[in-house]
Each structure stands twice: as structure tokens, then as C-alpha cells.
Amino acid sequence: MAPISYRNAFVSIENDVYEPAEDSFLLADVAIDRISDGMKVLEMGVGSGFVSAVVAANKNVEPTGCDINPDALECAYKNGIQVFRSNLFGGLTKKAYFDVILFNPPYLPTSEEEKLEGWLNYAFDGGVEGRDIIATFFAEVSDYLKPGGSVLLFISSLTGRREVFDIMEREGFSAYVVAETRSFFEKLMVIECKHNC
């Protein structure tokens, strides 16, 4: 597959790795706007490394990425991103280290019959309602954010905007939609969340 060039970044994509699409571009654009030089940045579900590579190409920041998919990790590593394999925050110390955590989660409502074979399923499958991974992520994320730190989360209207906001508020976050665009049959948005310390 030809490398993707976007906002000074050049990213190679391997087979069995989520190919950057509108969601990735929107999250990368917001990330460049919101991230300042010198910040500590984590990308959860780093995939090919596309979003982190765009951040690194435009800011004096070296994002760290993690994923559960070994093919994605090899791809992101080749794209120059520091990565480790982890099930969500499993492999991270609870030292409140990060200024910004980026996450383009598996957000599609997925029934048993719709599951994909192999690791790529982890890129899409958000459980029956599309919010399983998002709920687990928000139950844990505050241990890893600095005071005043923020989450930039991508979701689709298919994930259920109000229900996702309910999850965030339940876990003590204030949430705002900071970018929104319309695709064929869904709205795509990036939500910024800060913990109410």
C-alpha cells in the first residue's frame, strides 16, 4: 500500500492494520490544535501510528502509543512511534503522567455475527451498543492523566453521543464537542474531556 502523506507526516500502512480514514484525519487535526510543544502524549489504540505521526511531525512532542494488535504495533513502530502492547491501560504505571490522551476507540455497535476475523476486529468492535471499550477506558483514565490533563476522544453519532456524554459525566469528566463533520450516514466528532478535580 502506498504511504499516506498528511500535514508533513508520511505513514506506511500494513495489511491487517486499520487504514486511516475520515476519523483519523479529524482526530489528527484536533490533536495538532490542542497539543503544545513539550506535552506528554499517549495514543490509546495507536493502530498504524497515523495520528501520533501527524502530531510528531507538527509539534515538538514524541507521543507514545499502545495497542492490543501486534500487527498494528509493528506498523506504528516502523512509522517511528514508540509503542508497547497492552490491553487498554494494563501495562501503564498509575503515575498521572500524561497531558493528553488520544483515543479513536472501537466505536461501532457490533453483534456476534458482525465480528471480524483476527486482530482487526479490535479496531471496530465496540460491543453490542458500541460503547463497551469507551466505558472501560473512562473508568480507568483518570489514574493516568495529569491534573488538568485532557482526553481527546473520537466517536460517531452511531456510538450514541448522549450516552457517551453520560459515561464521561458519571466518571467525573466535563465534555465538549470540539470538532464535528458529517459523513454519509453518521456524524463524526471529537470530544475533549477534562476531569473535574
Binding site: 499502545c66 508497547f84 504505571t93 498509575k94
Partner: protein, 60 residues
Amino acid sequence: MKKEMMNILACPLCKGELVLNISSDEGEEVISGTLYCAACDEYYPIEKGIPNMLPPEMRD
């Protein structure tokens, strides 16, 4: 992984500190080795520069 990634990694079982054992490296980049949790007596492999922090029962 860069050696400074040790600042952020923890044992996925107990969230405790890990000890880095290097088999091969290139400057600050660790290419292969292990991360050891003494409390759990568990090793986490580093291969091709990528630490595998999955708990043992989730590894391939």
C-alpha cells in the same frame, strides 16, 4: 522501546515496578530483552523493539 519508556510501564498484574534486562540495544533503543516484575515473578518480553505488556494468559 527507548529506555525512558521505563518511566511509564508497570506490571499489568500488580501495577508494580519492573526491572529492565537488555539482550540487544542500539543506543537508547532497546531492541530485545525482558521486563521483570519481582513481586509477581513474571517476565514481559521485548521483541523487535516492542514490549509486550499483556498479562501471561492474554499473550498469543
